[in-house]
Amino acid sequence: MKKQKRKNLEGNTDLFSMLPRDCLISVFRLLNRKTLNEIELVSKQMGEIVANPVLRRIKMRGSLSLFEYSDSGRSFQFVSGETCLLFTVPHGAEQGRRSSIKEGDIYPFGPFVEPVTPGVATIFPRSIWTNLSELTKRHHAFDSVLLDRILIDNRFIAELFPFLQGGQRSIQFEFNEVLFDDSLEFPKFSKFLLAANPRFLWISRNHQLMPRNTAAFLSIFDEKFLTAFAANCANESPSFGLEIFCGMDRIPFHWTPSREFLPILCRFERFVSASMKLRPEHFLELISMRVETADRTTLQWLFSLTAELKDEHFDSSLDSANYAHMEMYYDDTENDDQHSWFHIQQVGTPKACRFYQFFHARTREFMVEIEFFEKEMFELEFNARGMVEQEKRRKIQEETKVDFFSQLPRDCHISVFRLLNRKTFNELECVSKQMGESFALITETSHAIQFLCDDWGARYGVRCGEQRGHWSHCAIRSESQMPLVLSNVAQLTPGGAKPMPAAIWTALARLFKQHEFDHVYLERIRINAQFLDEFRPFLTGPKHVELVISEVFIDESVNMSKFSEFLLSANLRYLRISRGRQALPSDMAGFLGIFEETFLTAFAAKCIDESPSFVLGIFSGMNVIPYHWIASRDFIPVLSRFVRFSSESMKIHPEDFLELILIRLETAIDYTLFDTTRSYANEYDDFEEDEEEEEVEIWKQIQKNGTSRSCKFNRYVDTNTNELMVELEFSGEGESIYFR
């Protein structure tokens, strides 16, 4: 490369001036905004060319989002490649402040509060539109527009509309948790949506707040609308989503597509709308149509059916010479969950479709969720419906159920909710007001912070907030292209882990100063010596913290004793370390060597008032456990204090194992009424449970006579490591001790 450069410099000629303008435009149109900015500085001729409308559009192309956060105000944000601009008008003000967010800067990146509510939501001030206009006055082309937690009324769409016109490309248009004002004129809104020319239109809402006339709102998105919407996307696959049905007891508007609509629906890459009800026979026609024409394999479709899909539909609507199909029925009577999985494969090709049909208990609708893919199947027994016999299939109960759950005291609700994940939280929150109030109690007591590094290049996010529902996000700007919305469920892979940028520490210090966190999650980040030094002060507060370290990369440079010191210096009551196989350190024995008796004794000693928990979940898939240590007799009383303990590198003598059970039964604080003055020898029955089952697992139970206190344990040989393992559970506590 150097040689070539030198050759040119010898000539000392401005070679570019020989290229015609059209050629230069052809070259420059391949460049991104950042490079075009640099090109502008090369020469005046180049600067003039960059001013060409086509290139200006590239410079201005990006993602626009308009949102309202309760603590900062109303904003628009424009993101294009490495550029991120933010204009914010604080609440109560008319004028705002604009800022350019550069690499390494930290800025709000998500909702800080619950979704906007009537009376709280405010209209966007004039200065927002003026500044947006200033930003886009030369040329613009938005790839995507996100409206997030704002009030949508007639005035808003009238103000926004001019900014959505003029782009040559169709846009991705998303409404997230917006509040549709009751004054919104739906025909106008419908026209606005179509005129914006989106190829991707998604309206999502997790909460029940909808326009007063929800049925009329839903009726916008009928066959006529979707036909026009798809027609606008002549050269692209359209996507449409109406995810607003969470918490609804019934879907207030339905429409049944005509047969003529099937080829149109077939073109959609993603389609989610529970208000569309398809006839089962049309559904199967649609599936075969899509399987035959699909050029893309990943799709997401979800909609309702007018009736349950049954065998006769397959017999009458699916050409068995061309399609093989199979049904797997899942019936979990205990959890009242029944659904069917179907697999349809075009004979002799890898083209396939998989969908599952379920009965949505709340809305009492049959729904299907479908995905298409290409995969050569094994010699499956197609057309052999009923891998689980049809006779076992239970009729879905139609009768009204009694609301037992609401009758439970609030404490019980909280106890139950604490065990659930966030997705389930979001669902349950919509069930009733009473549950919503119980959630609020959890919110008050549970704060968590999470650091993660995702795979979209060097980008870090901080989440802070309540343990349930919405987390607030702060993103660190980086050079890489950033998606408009950071998905809570984005698939993270470890490839992007890089050292923490310096800017994050300031933000962390502020966050830890403002909040008292109960839970700290470190996810998919790189831990090096600097990280340990910087992070240590955050974990040494007066409050015990639950620390979860998951899929992190422990840098080879980190001294294991330093890592051990870091953990012990923290004020922890719960420590869980889990790692994927790909992220294991090369010196596994050294790493496991940290977590032995000395460490655990010191760890437990720091939890004087609370029971400690320790989980080392890194052994999955290992054929050999590279480090073992044997617990001494002195360690048994310490171990008995743990409410949860899991480590496959700890070995325990059988006699000490029984000692552990007895100590635990004796001392567990939940069972203080237990009479400890009598000898164990005659009082414990040892009996086998579940042996009549054909399960490999055999659980034994030791029960204290005359009490409900017991210990259940399971001995088994790990098939990977060939080690004898034991898993224990003490009754009533819902916690397990897990060791070998």
């Binding site: 000629t13 020989m18 900015n37 502008e40 490649g81």
Partner: protein, 165 residues
């Protein structure tokens, strides 16, 4: 095999297989206009003059067309301006010796004049790749462009871009 003769600006003759010339919109139009496809026309006796292309450049163009014989015309395959610009290995090797020199630019001009879309696209990609990650002054230095800006002017442009971005 029908051969058609192309004549460069410096009067060099290049007999080229008819099929290859379908890649060039300009030559294709000339062939149609001159009825060279007619069985009655003696194509060999009617050379096509290309006054805007020098012999050494035309030779490179023909070499490229020979390699890409039968390739479909690709258009608009780079929607994402932030994505990596990919030039296939053979073409990369083809452009490399002339990179940063007038030959590469002449080849680009010829591709544009002859309306060979794939060559123009690839050539532009190869040039644009030389810009990525470089600053204005670096580009200036590498391509021998004189600096016309005063430091104040340069600063003003940078400032403008900060918010126009």
């Amino acid at each position: 095999m029908v051969l058609i003769t192309l004549v460069s600006s410096d009067e060099q003759n290049f007999p080229v297989e008819r099929e290859l010339l379908k890649q060039s919109g300009t030559i294709e139009t000339l062939i149609v206009n001159m009825n060279l496809d007619d069985e009655d026309t003696d194509a060999a006796a009617m050379p096509i003059p290309l006054p805007n292309v020098k012999g050494d450049v035309l030779e490179k163009v023909i070499q490229w067309m020979e390699h890409h014989k039968g390739d479909p015309v690709k258009e608009g395959d780079n929607e994402d301006n932030n994505a990596e610009i990919v030039v296939p290995q053979w073409d990369d090797d083809f452009f490399k010796p002339a990179m940063y020199g007038s030959k590469h630019l002449e080849l680009t001009v010829a591709a544009s004049y002859l309306d060979i879309k794939n060559l123009l696209t690839l050539s532009c990609k190869a040039i644009s790749n030389t810009f990525k990650g470089k600053t204005g002054p670096q580009i200036r230095e590498e391509w021998g462009v004189p600096n016309e800006f005063t430091p104040e002017e340069e600063e003003a442009i940078r400032k403008e871009n900060e918010w126009s971005e």
